[in-house]
Subunit: 418 residues, 4 copies
Amino acid sequence: MVAQTPPMGWNSWDCYGAAVTEDTVRRNAEYMAQILKPYGWEYIVVDIQWAQPTAVNHSYEPFSDMTMDAFGRLTPAVNRFPSAADGAGFKPLADFIHSLGLKFGIHIMRGMPRMAAHRHLPIEGSPYFCHTAADPNSICAWNPDMYGLRCELPEARAYYESIFRLYAQWGVDFIKCDDIAREYPRCRREIEVISEACRASGRDMVLSLSPGPAPLEQAEHLKRYANMWRITDDFWDDWRLLKGMFERAEKWCVHAAPGHWPDADMLPVGALRQCENPEDRTRFTPAEQRTMMTLWAMMRSPMMIGAEMTKNDDFTVSLLTNRDVLDILRESSHGHPLRTTEDESVWAAPRTDGTGLYIALFNLSGRKRTVAAEPELPDNVLPAVRELWSGHTLRASRVIRASLPAHDAAVFLLTWNR
Amino acid sequence: MVAQTPPMGWNSWDCYGAAVTEDTVRRNAEYMAQILKPYGWEYIVVDIQWAQPTAVNHSYEPFSDMTMDAFGRLTPAVNRFPSAADGAGFKPLADFIHSLGLKFGIHIMRGMPRMAAHRHLPIEGSPYFCHTAADPNSICAWNPDMYGLRCELPEARAYYESIFRLYAQWGVDFIKCDDIAREYPRCRREIEVISEACRASGRDMVLSLSPGPAPLEQAEHLKRYANMWRITDDFWDDWRLLKGMFERAEKWCVHAAPGHWPDADMLPVGALRQCENPEDRTRFTPAEQRTMMTLWAMMRSPMMIGAEMTKNDDFTVSLLTNRDVLDILRESSHGHPLRTTEDESVWAAPRTDGTGLYIALFNLSGRKRTVAAEPELPDNVLPAVRELWSGHTLRASRVIRASLPAHDAAVFLLTWNR
Amino acid sequence: MVAQTPPMGWNSWDCYGAAVTEDTVRRNAEYMAQILKPYGWEYIVVDIQWAQPTAVNHSYEPFSDMTMDAFGRLTPAVNRFPSAADGAGFKPLADFIHSLGLKFGIHIMRGMPRMAAHRHLPIEGSPYFCHTAADPNSICAWNPDMYGLRCELPEARAYYESIFRLYAQWGVDFIKCDDIAREYPRCRREIEVISEACRASGRDMVLSLSPGPAPLEQAEHLKRYANMWRITDDFWDDWRLLKGMFERAEKWCVHAAPGHWPDADMLPVGALRQCENPEDRTRFTPAEQRTMMTLWAMMRSPMMIGAEMTKNDDFTVSLLTNRDVLDILRESSHGHPLRTTEDESVWAAPRTDGTGLYIALFNLSGRKRTVAAEPELPDNVLPAVRELWSGHTLRASRVIRASLPAHDAAVFLLTWNR
Amino acid sequence: MVAQTPPMGWNSWDCYGAAVTEDTVRRNAEYMAQILKPYGWEYIVVDIQWAQPTAVNHSYEPFSDMTMDAFGRLTPAVNRFPSAADGAGFKPLADFIHSLGLKFGIHIMRGMPRMAAHRHLPIEGSPYFCHTAADPNSICAWNPDMYGLRCELPEARAYYESIFRLYAQWGVDFIKCDDIAREYPRCRREIEVISEACRASGRDMVLSLSPGPAPLEQAEHLKRYANMWRITDDFWDDWRLLKGMFERAEKWCVHAAPGHWPDADMLPVGALRQCENPEDRTRFTPAEQRTMMTLWAMMRSPMMIGAEMTKNDDFTVSLLTNRDVLDILRESSHGHPLRTTEDESVWAAPRTDGTGLYIALFNLSGRKRTVAAEPELPDNVLPAVRELWSGHTLRASRVIRASLPAHDAAVFLLTWNR
């Protein structure tokens, strides 16, 4: 039973794009184990192109020679992941991460390498061949490497089972499957086959679907076949994207529950885009980062850190280690907006145990603004109020109010005796 | 401060269409005062065409002679509402209803009678004339009587203020304004002017907008300018319509809160369509009626009874007087579906005071079916469980399960000590 | 058998809008009889709002009091058309125009005056009443006066027959029916009923449908029920509209034939918009006017002069009296574009009698440009070539070429011995 | 200057699909030279998959091994085209066809073989490589072999020039380029580059674009860059497709002229689908075949015979050797429909030399029907009339009329002295 609360971890994409290396992964895993693990952070995820020896940044190289085994299954490029030598795959790296008390994840694209089909390779553990499983017309719009599979055929299931078998052997705990979450209706069956192959592996792995926006009308299908799925296109450190998330969060929030979480995408905090510029850091202001963390918490989105974590500054650490805010992920349910306008948003989320109510106030405007809310409370109670970013206890009141700088947020826990 | 909980009452449309009379209204008001008032039912609403002397059923008569005053304000047809004689309007009827401890509502169409414009009548309390306020191109697609107003002009505001002044004098407590809720964007401004004219009257009146579906993307505008608004087209006693309501309820549920309620429309229970056939009764099965009442309660929709209530049978009375179920309207918040498929739906709603959680199980399929849910509860608690339609207390459990006949529903209250 | 060649005439809209008077009509009719009639010009058409006493310019007045007879048939406003006094209607004016050897036309809106329905007037020559023929939901998007009719009912046919009976009595030769040509599919039946009522009158009247764009896919319906129909929205003296006409002309040209003509709308030449400014004249350059006349001729569009003709200058007269160019309307068939690009267009049209080929060259660009064409000709012939605007005979050649100023056109007649 | 009249020839697709062989081509070429050449038939075109050794019918095999040279240019599969051995390509076959006095054509797909890109082959005559010219995301929706090219790069032009250089060396006269005519806007630039590479080869080759429907709004682009282009999806021997062609023919007819011809697709007459069943013959009735030939002639569509011609029966031969009907292709211009309804259609086309007018009458209904037309003729002439399928001379008349069996057509030549 995976993903009983929203998964929390780190992913290599925002800081290293297609060019992440084993050194980087180990360094960040050690950091997480030492600094963040006590707050609930646990997944270390290697993102896209780990089988491409020549990747150098966030772009994709057409017709590159991907490393793969004799069955058309991608394997880590040994020049980038030395421990994968001699056919070891990701097992040594996974073992290392497990030794730190963390969990290990990898990115995959739906389908198989195009060359596996053109070379007519056999499918491991089956009487089939890759070229009968592959669909020559099913390609990704933004990545040149793969063919999707003909999921109506047993060959396709055999191929997907062969890769999840390999990932289970490696010790993988988390799969970010790409080119699929927004590809309804044509990939609907492919999602089912991938999900079933994942479960058939016998190993608990979180199944995360990208990229978004996944279609809202497919919510029940996604809840059944995936543990998390992206609700928007790629999210980066741009205020317009963050502001836009409020609308999607409102539509998706009722679908968050143990085992299946709408995913607002990675947290672009700290040091980013390191291949392009080692000095680069998030363009979000501290206020905007509070807004992001608060919204992700109230909607109970998974949280995946995008930073090169070893370069975290004090603010970034404070953001990622506020236990009261991160508790919202685990202790609330039924969170939803009370209202969202051009200028402000108010969210409310009861504590699951009935002991209180979280209220988040967001200033979405470009100037200082007082935001207020009068949430539904039992008649005649006067709740105690604490703001969770500052830790301050406020005067008991049924009206919650905050004067907020541009793009900033506050989040309160209201409690009362019943 | 009206509509702090979802309004509950009776409306004449389902049983008498365009042909309701004063006798009928008084008879039903007396019934409500005696039988239903203790359970929270309070509004008595006269629906469409009360100014048309010749209305006989659910249809509209083009180019009929509506009764109106010298200022182009519709007045009750005296042949149908005798107490309105001598210019008394609805005041005597409102007084009677108030004397029963109930509240009085009327239906209006947006705009003014077409003949008020063609006759160039003056607008009461203003220097303006009707023909400059009316928009000759703004008509209703399904009713022939009115012109919408040119809401960018002060003439339009003057006309709307003149009618709400009259309604306040009559003692009206509830306005069902029609031909407007789904007319975005062209009626966006008209909604604002109507809402402001209503408030400017100085009398508390619930403002209810019809018909649906109101557009979801206008949720914040509706929440600001109306107390309730229809989320679907007309709802009748047809299973397909009831099943379809689950999708709209899912999308709208996060917008229900004190002062503004997404409205799933009237409850077609008991004796209906009396002009066409005095023997006619709801085509919903008892199971379907439980499903309807449960869904309306969990989403906190307003509830307006469609029956000729004096013909209520025992089952109908039991449905309308289950205090535990009706309490969900007033005591829960944050209700939303956990899942909805072709065959079943599960909704959850915390009690606002933190003492428990409502769980509703719906069998949407055409055959008997066991529906189960494992809601989010605090770790380690084993809740007490009671089913509210039967009143039965069940074994304490974290898994809620019911074997349900086709189209039936059960609703549970889970409580625990914290 | 009307409209065997494209109708040619004058219409009051471009110069007087809704405010044309009898004096104006008579003055322009006299001008046409003296100056233009020898070139084929023959229709004098009174455009919209002749029943509105208060019209002063191109705009429409909501809820105005239209003049009508006891049967809800509009009659000329006597203050504007004095000869219509004493119930004479347009008969005296029609008689006058006939006395000049010309033909008389009027504008109508589809439907009946709104007040005819609200007043429950009888329908002449029938047992019916206006309010059962009118459709209260069928209104015009841009004019406030009328209701469309419920054309599935005999009442509607009776009303339309009653008005065409009146027009036949008046001596009307041409009906411009408005608010209908682009109103497919909802007015499809109304077009049929109007057309049949027109024919049932027993008098030959050209039936012209407005406004455009009529839908191309309804070409066969239009060809069957109308003599001409607008292919674009209102055309005025604006180069972008003229340039845009080339695309519509290309699509419609194959549907031009005796009895039914795609209509490119009025010719805004000479003195226009006289109510607003008596000094106003066309904003088209002489080159653009040649382009317009040439395109209308090659596509065989009806030609309706928009000018206050008594203010025609020499250039305008030359444009309207070039017999060679106007002959294209009557002597060619099968005209169509050979090509049309952003910068130029070439049209070709054989003479119906087989004696030659018309070639039109258009410079659609904003600068001087040489346009050339090598049309399909019989093998081995070397045609004689004459340019029709200048009258110049050119060197015999199979390649036609012209150096044209911006927006200008040339048109050639090629002839050969066979 | 190619395609001065609509190209006429034979294509292997309808009879042999993807599996045509050299023997078949030679046999049909010999037949054409002996029987059909005098009537204007001249092209022999080898359709799709000539580079695939394993093709057996009308279907495509994913990930097959196409034969290609060291530069990624497809070459004929030697097992199917023996004369192509030793790198001779199609030259020996082209030489043979030329020796018969005929012209030789081949089918190509836009783009390059996928394996040419994956293998990083060099581009002949350039410093470039295939994998930089290919676009990994540009694939065909229905054929698995190729990648489209990145036409904004010089590499793409270099590749296209390399293949047209080869085709010129082979002696190719006609290129049917597939997966392109309906692919606007994304293939707009690719059409230009292919057209320019074709012209740059120095050899006259007809450029034919498939499949349809090409978009009507791209008519001028198509006229500039291609000699013929398909106006519908694949046409087969199905009455619904033939009836549907009337609508497309009406829209496209004005764009037919020397050098560029809207293409109604192959003529499925005689023996078809020979790989599937050597006994298979066209499902069109003789009447339907007359209708097809008449429409193709009147709209001046290219004509490509789909039959295994050596199995032609007498009727098929009569259809393909009616010189009077085929003359319409060469001697008429400005053909267009006079009207087309559900039940009938009438087309008219003047003879280019001015000596007469062709009139075609079509019965599109399922029962016998008399179709009549009164075409535009010079005043006062009484034309001589001859029906071209029967050869019968009829009584002189201005009204043309025929009693036609279901789905049949008649076509007349009207002549007069001027």
